[in-house]
Structure formats: C-alpha cells, structure tokens
C-alpha cells in the first residue's frame, strides 16, 4: 500500500545548527511531494513542492528538499536553524487511489534550543 512516512516524531536541534527532516514515500510512478509547516495553533503553510524536473527544490524560509528516487525519499533541509523554525512539519504525497486526495505523514515536531 502506498504511504508517506516521517520516521522521526520529534527532533531537537540547537539554534544555528543544520537540520534534516526525513520523509519516505511509496508510490509506483513519479510522485509529487510537498512539505508543510504548522506553527502552534495555526493552519499549515506550504514550504515547498516537487512535481518533476530538478530534484533539488528550494522553498520559503531558507528550506530546501531533495527528491531521491533510488531511496524513495524527499528530505527537508536547512543549513542554519532559527528559533522561529520550531514547529510541526508534515510531508505529503499523492494518493494513487484518488488523485484528488493526498496522503500525509504523521509529522515531525521540531524544537530549537537557544
């Protein structure tokens, strides 16, 4: 069955350190993939998306993600984390059974130490 998996439930990093959040997907064809961020008590905001073409995707707030078909991964990265990046991060991908819907990972909660 298709799925989107975020292996890390919770991650803590120090401010200024680099960050990588993992996302693995299972999908038969070339997927489209998204990363969203959710600040406490807020809705979700799109960070970046991958549809096709360049496998390294740039997003807002200094984030980037790389699509690696061989590893079925779409990991989110940021070279230097700011305290304001503390939030919940969600990865999402296509639903082969119904392309109007998305499949969501369960999210990774990021804490940033000063």
């Amino acid at each position: 069955a298709q799925s989107v998996t975020q292996p890390d439930i919770h991650i803590t990093v120090s401010e200024g350190a680099s960050l990588e959040l993992r996302c693995n997907y299972s999908y038969g064809a070339t997927p489209y993939l998204f990363w969203y961020v959710q600040s406490p008590g807020q809705g979700l905001q799109l960070l970046l998306k991958y549809f096709s073409g360049d496998t390294l995707v740039q997003g807002i707030k200094g984030f980037e993600a790389e699509f690696k078909r061989s590893q079925s991964s779409f990991n989110l990265r940021k070279p230097s984390v700011h305290w304001s990046d503390a939030a919940e991060y969600f990865c999402a991908g296509p639903n082969a059974g119904n392309n109007r819907k998305l499949i969501w990972g369960l999210g990774t909660s990021l804490a940033v130490n000063p």
């Binding site: 807020q42 809705g43 905001q45 998306k49 119904n98 109007r100 990972g105």
Partner: protein
C-alpha cells in the same frame, strides 16, 4: 494573496448540539477539504468536495456531514456533537491544476 478563511478559531459546544464549521476560499478553487488533526494521528480527511453540490467521503466521515452550495464555501456539520469530536479542524482548498493545498487557520472545537 490566496486566502482560506475559517469562521471560528475557537468553539465550545455541549454534547448533542449541532455544530457548523464554515470555510470560505477566494481562489476559485474546485476542490475543498475538511481535515481533523489530533496529536499523534496527523491529518485525517473527513470529507472533500470537488465541485458545487458534489462531495466524497474521506477516511473518517462518521458523525459528520458537509454542504457545498456555492463554489467558495464548504461547511462541515456535526449533527450531534460528541466529546470524541473535540479536535482541531482544518479546511483546505486546491485548484484543479495546482497541486498544493491552501489551508485555513483552523478551528479548535471543544465538546463538553
């Protein structure tokens, strides 16, 4: 700037009450969605609509209904609220030709 507006950020209702959650989008999107979000369970799709008066069940439709009389508005209805429906409810919209969803700020519902 695109906008999805949910009518209420916070609601407190009593068991058995009928609850309406309203969502309006200004992007002329065909597709609209209602999710609920609970700790540890991520986002779960309740219902979605792909056109006016058209709807389709999501993964957890039990205890909910929806209405889409106009393209810009999608309402979630809890006919008889129960305590296990205490949750954060998120509305989203999506165009036919755009992949991403645009979300509202969320409505946090507490059922006592």
């Amino acid at each position: 700037d695109v906008k999805v507006t949910q009518s209420s950020r916070y609601l407190v209702k009593r068991t058995g009450e009928k609850v309406f959650l309203e969502c309006v989008q200004d992007m002329d999107h065909e597709n609209m969605f209602w999710y609920r979000q609970d700790p540890g369970l991520g986002l779960r799709l309740i219902y979605f609509s792909y056109d006016v008066k058209m709807k389709e069940k999501g993964d957890i439709p039990e205890g909910y209904s929806v209405s889409r009389e106009k393209k810009e508005r999608f309402s979630l209805i809890l006919e008889s609220a129960s305590t296990n429906q205490t949750s954060m409810y998120l509305c989203a919209s999506r165009g036919v030709y755009t992949g991403e969803l645009f979300f509202g700020e969320g409505s946090r519902l507490t059922v006592l």
